[in-house]
Symmetry: C2
Subunit: 339 residues, 2 copies
């Protein structure tokens, strides 16, 4: 068995990489939400001087990456790798951002699971001695996602109550082989799980079983219980998905209790912001992690966090062919102490 | 500097992973081409009993992965990771294939660079001790790509002479920490390079500078010259891109000479198959590698190969907004001997 594996699905990092830089950019709606004080930059409009939403998303991701590197006190040339992806067809927000950055690049597609997918791969590349410093990033944009996955915004379509609101923004994290933490200490990569749900306005329910599969593997492999964490936070299950995971994990013998929340639940106020089941999109967990979670870890309010972005891997083409929504979640443990 | 880095961009694997399983599936047109005898399975029709081309591509990739694992004498449960991607929006060929396989999964998007992107990441995860065995894969399909990127097939559009023909098929490779080779010994990941070409029917020219950037970094970092290789083979530059790389590398002082070819040039006969500038698509380099290259390495005709899949990272949406085509190439060294 490989030396860094624990149980069937989990990696234990022997030289845990440190998070040495972070940055979050959000759109105006996210800047009106409950986490507004945690974000590094709140845009006044979601075009940010560009002539299309797609180009705005490229700029948002590029600036988040540049700023995270600056936050680490480093330059683009110090980065061994950029590991990133986004929701758009052919991940163009990432590809065109990477063009400007000129860092050796691995492109990912993990839908809204991308932030922990990139942190998982990035942490292993550092721990394994393949890189000293690298940057992980993702982005999403309400307006690019709506027109790609749903309807033209001009239709002003009604949204069902289980629907989520794609977060506009980008989060970037710089990992290094040196640094004083917080550290990525464990990784539990996910598998694709598909409960058969075909309602694309109910992605929280579609993603819940994938989130559970990874959580259960994580606890079984490591021997940890929810009590070993100060915070367990999923990516964008939203209000519907969070409540399913809470109930069904209890049936499996894991009481996540008050330590458990979801980035999609935290980022908006559903009573005043008309966001129904909460936030979604690759940026949802990326900005909540690089904003809220890491800044509260700096204050040592959270000493040990289990963070899992979750993604729904369908496309409009295959949904129109009658397919259900397969999903995935990748979990990582963040410790302020290197065990 | 990280212990496994050589020069600015290259990784030297200290515990080189062995290729212990491989499989290639192609469509009928590829089965009529010059490499027909190297492929493991040639389909009689490109729907393969499915009711859509997308579902056929899912099935093709799933079967290639299952068969590569079987070729290694292993089962699905032996695989620590599946690392894969494809050309389709939200990489659905891979996501739905991964759903059936239930292996912990990292989804990639690297356009036609996906095969060496997955082998690069896979090799590092094995070398770093994070996995004992994993499978890397990609697929493409002429009919899914045409309708997504170009025109409905029913239009019977004319193709320009610089256009390439998307390969229908899938290639999968099993890597392991044990085995008797061939071994992956060096990795030179690429950066996004964009020469400003906007003609989506001339992707060979768009990708050529990215291919050159990686090749030059590889030779500079390692101190190798083209003479150190028996074969240097790029992904899908096609006839146009190959000739640009050959000429421009000569200007840079590297005579690739007769050792250099391209998977897109080898897979079809342009005189009899009406494929214009050659093959393309993620599967192009995947099936040529898992078919032709590895089978000739078994016979020791090639002892040392530099293999680089190349990808064009545009989307129809961003092309319609006037953007040019950014590209990338990831190179890996395959040795029949572990140095």
């Amino acid at each position: 068995m490989a030396v860094k594996r624990v149980g069937n699905h989990t990696i234990k990092l022997l030289n845990p990489p440190s998070i040495i830089g972070k940055y979050s950019i959000v759109g105006p709606k996210e800047g009106d939400g409950p986490l507004r004080d945690y974000f590094d930059l709140i845009l006044e409009d979601d075009l940010w001087g560009q002539d299309s939403w797609e180009k705005a998303e490229c700029k948002i991701q590029e600036e988040a990456v540049r700023s995270a590197i600056e936050n680490a006190g480093l330059t683009l040339k110090d980065m061994d790798f950029l590991i990133a992806g986004d929701l758009l067809n052919q991940i163009v927000a990432t590809g065109y951002s990477a063009r400007e950055l000129a860092i050796p690049f691995f492109g990912l597609y993990g839908a809204c699971s991308t932030m922990t997918e990139s942190l998982s791969l990035g942490a292993m590349l550092i721990d394994g001695g393949f890189a000293d410093k690298l940057v992980c990033a993702t982005s999403s944009h309400f307006s690019t996602a709506e027109r790609q996955f749903r309807f033209p915004l001009e239709y002003a379509s009604q949204r069902t109550f289980s629907a989520q609101w794609t977060v506009t923004g980008s989060g970037a994290t710089v990992l290094s082989s040196y640094g004083s933490g917080p550290y990525i200490t464990y990784i539990t990569p996910g598998r694709i799980i598909d409960p058969g749900i075909k309602d694309i306005a109910n992605m929280g329910a579609a993603m819940a079983p994938a989130a559970m599969d990874t959580l259960i593997h994580h606890f079984q492999d490591t021997g940890f219980s929810p009590d070993d964490y100060d915070l367990i936070i999923t990516g964008d299950l939203g209000i519907v998905g969070k409540s399913i995971v809470l109930d069904m994990m209890k049936e499996e013998g894991y009481d996540l209790g008050s330590k458990f929340t979801d980035c999609g639940v935290e980022i908006f106020n559903p009573n005043t912001q008309d966001t129904h089941a909460g936030g979604s999109g690759c940026a949802c967990s990326a900005v909540v992690f690089n904003g809220y979670v890491l800044k509260e870890m700096e204050k040592a309010r959270f000493k040990r966090v289990l963070f899992m972005s979750t993604g729904a891997m369908h496309s409009t083409t295959i949904t129109q062919q009658g397919e259900s929504i397969p999903s995935i979640g990748h979990a990582i443990t963040i410790d302020i102490n290197n065990e």
